[in-house]
C-alpha cells in the first residue's frame, strides 16, 4: 500500500468515526462557554456588536450605503473568522491532542476534524445572522443565493486542507501558529472584507487581492449570498486551482510527517 493511499484511507477512517470528532468538537464549544451566563449566544452578541459598531463607522468612511454595506461586512467577516480559526486552531490540532495521540489508536485526522466542528458552529451562526441583517434592511434574497452552497463546500474543503497542513507543520515548527496569527491579523485588513474589491480596482491595486487566495474563498460564499447570483467564473477557477495546490502540498507534508508526528510531540 502506497503512502498516499494509506493517508487517504486514514482520512476516510477518520471521517467514518464522525461521532468521535463531532463529540469532541461540540465539547470544545460547550467548554468555551462553560459557566457563562448566555453561553454560545456570545458568538451572536460579539458579531452583532462588532458589525454594528464597525459597520456604521466604516460605511461612512468608505462612502457606502449602510443597507448594502452591513450584510457585505457581516458575511465577509464571518467567513474570514472561519478561515482564520481553522488555520490557527489547525496548528494546535495535533499538539493539543498529544495525550490522545500517544495512547489511542484512532487516525490523527479526527483531531483536525474536531477543529473543523469547533469552527463550523460559529460559521453557521454567522450565516444565520447575515440573513437576519438582510431581512432587517429589507434586502431581497433570491434563489440564486443557493449558489452559496457549492461555495460553502469549496470553503470547507479548503479549510480542512489548511488545518491539516498547519497541524502537521506546527508539530515540527512550534512557531508556526504564532506566526500565522500575526500574519492573519495583517491580512484581515488587506483582504477585501471591510472595503469592496472595486476600491482596489479603481486605484490599480488589483494585485492585492489577486495574490490573496483567501479573498477568492470568501467570494465564493459572499457573492452568491449578497447578490443572489453565482460568483464570476474567474473566482471559481482560482478557487479550484488553489484547492489542487493545497491538496498537493498536504500530500507532500503528510507523507513527510505523518509517521513522525507521534515522535515529535
Amino acid at each position: 500500500m502506497s503512502a498516499t493511499t494509506e493517508l487517504l484511507n486514514n482520512n476516510l477512517k477518520a471521517l467514518k468515526n464522525w461521532r468521535v470528532w463531532f463529540h469532541l468538537g461540540m465539547a470544545d464549544i460547550r467548554n468555551k462557554f462553560a459557566r457563562s451566563l448566555v453561553g454560545p449566544l456570545w458568538i451572536l452578541l460579539n458579531l452583532t456588536l462588532w458589525v454594528g459598531g464597525i459597520g456604521t463607522v466604516y460605511a461612512a468612511l468608505f462612502h457606502q450605503e449602510v443597507q448594502s454595506y452591513l450584510p457585505f461586512l457581516t458575511i465577509g467577516f464571518v467567513v474570514w473568522g472561519f478561515l482564520a480559526q481553522t488555520i490557527t486552531d489547525g496548528g494546535n490540532a495535533f499538539v493539543f491532542a498529544e495525550g490522545y495521540i500517544k495512547q489511542f489508536t484512532y487516525p490523527k485526522q479526527i483531531y483536525v476534524l474536531r477543529v473543523m466542528v469547533n469552527a463550523t458552529v460559529p460559521l453557521a451562526i454567522g450565516i444565520a445572522i447575515f440573513f437576519l441583517v438582510m431581512l432587517i434592511f429589507n434586502n431581497p434574497i433570491g434563489l440564486g443565493a443557493l449558489w452559496a452552497l457549492p461555495g460553502l463546500m469549496l470553503l470547507l474543503v479548503a479549510a480542512y486542507f489548511h488545518a491539516s497542513i498547519m497541524a502537521y507543520a506546527s508539530v515540527r515548527f512550534r512557531d508556526l501558529p504564532h506566526g500565522m496569527t500575526s500574519l492573519l491579523q495583517v491580512l484581515m485588513f488587506v483582504t477585501p472584507i471591510f472595503f469592496p474589491v472595486k476600491t482596489l480596482k479603481e486605484r490599480g491595486l488589483d494585485f492585492i487581492y489577486q495574490l490573496n487566495p483567501l479573498y477568492y474563498l470568501i467570494e465564493v460564499v459572499r457573492h452568491p449570498l449578497v447578490f443572489s447570483e453565482p460568483a464570476a467564473m474567474e473566482i471559481y477557477g482560482v478557487t479550484g486551482g488553489y484547492l489542487v495546490l493545497l491538496f498537493v502540498v498536504l500530500i507532500a507534508v503528510a507523507k513527510r510527517f505523518d509517521k513522525r508526528v507521534v515522535y515529535m510531540l
Binding site: 467548554n31 495525550g99 500517544k102 489511542f104 515548527f173 512557531d175 506566526g179 507521534v262 515522535y263 515529535m264
Partner: protein, 255 residues
C-alpha cells in the same frame, strides 16, 4: 466482527527517538541547521529504542514482556498498538486493539468526570449507546461519587487513575495491550483493580503485557519476551525466560 484471524506481526522494527537538543523543534533551529548543514551543532542525536525486533503473536496467546527500565517494553507495546510507526520494518496488527498505557494523561481538564468517561470510551472504540449503558457500572467502580460532576482538573492523580482504569476495563477487548498498570491507584483500589484486571485479561483473545511482577507473568502468560537494550534477548516459555532473567539480574556480572 473481523473475518481474518487476530494476530500481531512485527518484523525487523526499528524505532528511533530524537533526544537532547530541542532546538530542532523551532524555526530558528531549523534555519540554523540549513546554514550550518547536517553535522552542525543543532543536529540532535538519536536513540534507537528498538533495534530490529521481530515478533509474531497469534490468537489465544498470552505474552509477557520483561526487561529493565528503558529496555523497550513500552515502545514495543506502542508499536503493536500502531501508535509508534517503525522507522524501518513493519508492524501489522489484525483485530481491535484495546491499549492501556497511560492513566494520568488524555483528559479534558475542564469537563466533568462524566464527560471524560464518554470521551475516553469513544476513543477506546465504544459506541455512544454502549457507553450510556455502561455509565452506571463505570461510575460505581471508579468510586468517585459526586466528584464525577466536577471538572477533572479538581481531581488528584489517584482519582485520574481510577477514572481511566474504570473506563478502559469496561470495553470488550480483542487484543489487549497493557503497560505496567497494576500499581495504579491507592491500596484499596488496587485490590479491587487487581480483581477487575484479571477478569478483563481473561476476556482478551490476545494479551500482551509488560510487568515487573514475575508472579503475574507466571500466572498469566504462557510465553514471555525478555527485552534488553532494544532487542529481544530471549523469547520462549515463561518459566524458562523468567528463570534466566532472574539469574541475570541476581548475578554480579549482569549486563
Amino acid at each position: 466482527m473481523n473475518s481474518s484471524p487476530l494476530s500481531i506481526t512485527v518484523t525487523d522494527a526499528v524505532v528511533r527517538f530524537q533526544v537532547g537538543n530541542a532546538d530542532g523543534q523551532t524555526l530558528k533551529g531549523f534555519l540554523a541547521s540549513l546554514k550550518n548543514g547536517p553535522g552542525g551543532r543543532n543536529v540532535a542525536p538519536f536513540v534507537d529504542a528498538l533495534k530490529g525486533v521481530s515478533v509474531k503473536i497469534v490468537a489465544g496467546e498470552r505474552v509477557g514482556l520483561i526487561g529493565h527500565n528503558g529496555a523497550g517494553k513500552s515502545t514495543l507495546l506502542k508499536v503493536m498498538a500502531g501508535i509508534y510507526p517503525p522507522v524501518t520494518g513493519t508492524a501489522v496488527t489484525r483485530g481491535h486493539v484495546c491499549p492501556l498505557f497511560e492513566f494520568a494523561t488524555g483528559f479534558e481538564y475542564h469537563r466533568s468526570g462524566w464527560e471524560n468517561i464518554r470521551i475516553r470510551g469513544m476513543l477506546l472504540g465504544m459506541t455512544p449507546d454502549e457507553i450510556e449503558a455502561k455509565l452506571p457500572e463505570i461510575a460505581a467502580f471508579s468510586e468517585l461519587g459526586n466528584f464525577l460532576d466536577y471538572p477533572v482538573r479538581t481531581y488528584s492523580t489517584g482519582m485520574f487513575v481510577r477514572l481511566a482504569f474504570a473506563v478502559s476495563t469496561a470495553v470488550n477487548p480483542e487484543i489487549l495491550l497493557l503497560d505496567e498498570v497494576m500499581g495504579a491507584g491507592d491500596l484499596s483500589f488496587t485490590e479491587k483493580a487487581n480483581k477487575r484486571m484479571r477478569e478483563f485479561m481473561d476476556q482478551g483473545k490476545i494479551l500482551v503485557f509488560s510487568s515487573h511482577s514475575m508472579e503475574l507473568l507466571t500466572e498469566y502468560c504462557n510465553r514471555t519476551i525478555w527485552m534488553d537494550h532494544g532487542v529481544i534477548r530471549e523469547d520462549g516459555p515463561t518459566a524458562d525466560v523468567v528463570q534466566h532473567y532472574k539469574n541475570s539480574v541476581l548475578s554480579p556480572a549482569r549486563v
